[in-house]
Symmetry: C2
Subunit: 142 residues, 2 copies
DNA sequence: TTGCGTGCAAACTTTTTGCATAAAG
DNA sequence: CTTTATGCAAAAAGTTTGCACGCAA
């Protein structure tokens, strides 16, 4: 586990389930749903329960170890490990194949500042997603 | 009802429920949830059913009369009337009072183009939300 | 008269909660 | 020993679906 995460976990009680969830999240290249985390971990730890995964995720979100991601199409939430600020990024979501393709770094930061100045809103975060057709899908149907 | 909407409704069968939903959506200054639409209309039309509202909304989304909005906090979808491209805009969502404050027009359009060029992704839409503390809430707790 | 719209109830999906037990500190 | 984490089952919340009937075209 990364030092940054260990840091955030300081003062928290240790738990095997929690570490399995974190470890799984770290392997993902795209946000993942709670029930997928559950099914995945169940393969080698068949007594973990879905509600435990929900509770672990809730805790990790509060500790700012995990971010919640919501998409337009789907009513269920997805989660991903928080990357450090240098690798903070967003996704393009293909409306055909639903793949989430990361965009290198965050183009919104400057915008954020100018809007904060203009509106007096104390901005603490943002969400930005692009929708369209990825290269693969564009080629296929042509 | 606006001409633009009438245009999109051409070929669709008329329905009182549908028109009530559209009319209610037009009165909103922020996105609204399906059950709020339902409760609202029920006050003067007590036999409308929730599933009807869901079906109407689904149809209106397909006709591009209504947009689905999802927020990070809430697992339920919100909906708003599609504004024409000149008034397309986004929201700042106050993490304290949950109010959604519209941002005048859309600062993302140019970004979109440059990212499309860079990545070869055929971008058809985007989603952008800011989170923070609104003026009101910032004053209160100080 | 044909087929879409609607109400109602039931089903389904995702998420939350209560409670008794197990594990951590 | 005290507190937090967990499993299980049940409940809640949001959304979808089947079916019979009503209404628009």
């Amino acid at each position: 586990m990364q030092n940054e995460i260990s840091e955030k976990l300081k003062g928290q009680r240790a738990s095997k389930n929690r570490d399995e969830v974190i470890s799984l999240l770290q392997k993902q290249s795209a946000p993942i749903a709670v029930d997928d985390i559950y099914e995945n971990i169940k393969q080698f730890n068949n007594k973990i329960s879905l509600s435990t995964v929900y509770r672990i995720i809730e805790k990790l979100v509060n500790l700012n170890i995990v971010h919640k991601v919501t998409t337009l199409d789907d009513n269920k939430a997805l989660y991903e490990i928080v990357k450090d600020s240098h690798t903070h990024h967003h996704y393009m979501i293909c409306v055909k194949c639903k793949k989430m393709i990361p965009i290198d770094d965050c183009p919104v930061k400057e915008l954020e500042k100018s809007i904060a100045d203009k509106t007096g809103f104390n901005i603490t975060g943002h969400k930005f997603e692009l929708y369209g057709e990825c290269k693969n899908c564009a080629q296929k149907h042509s």
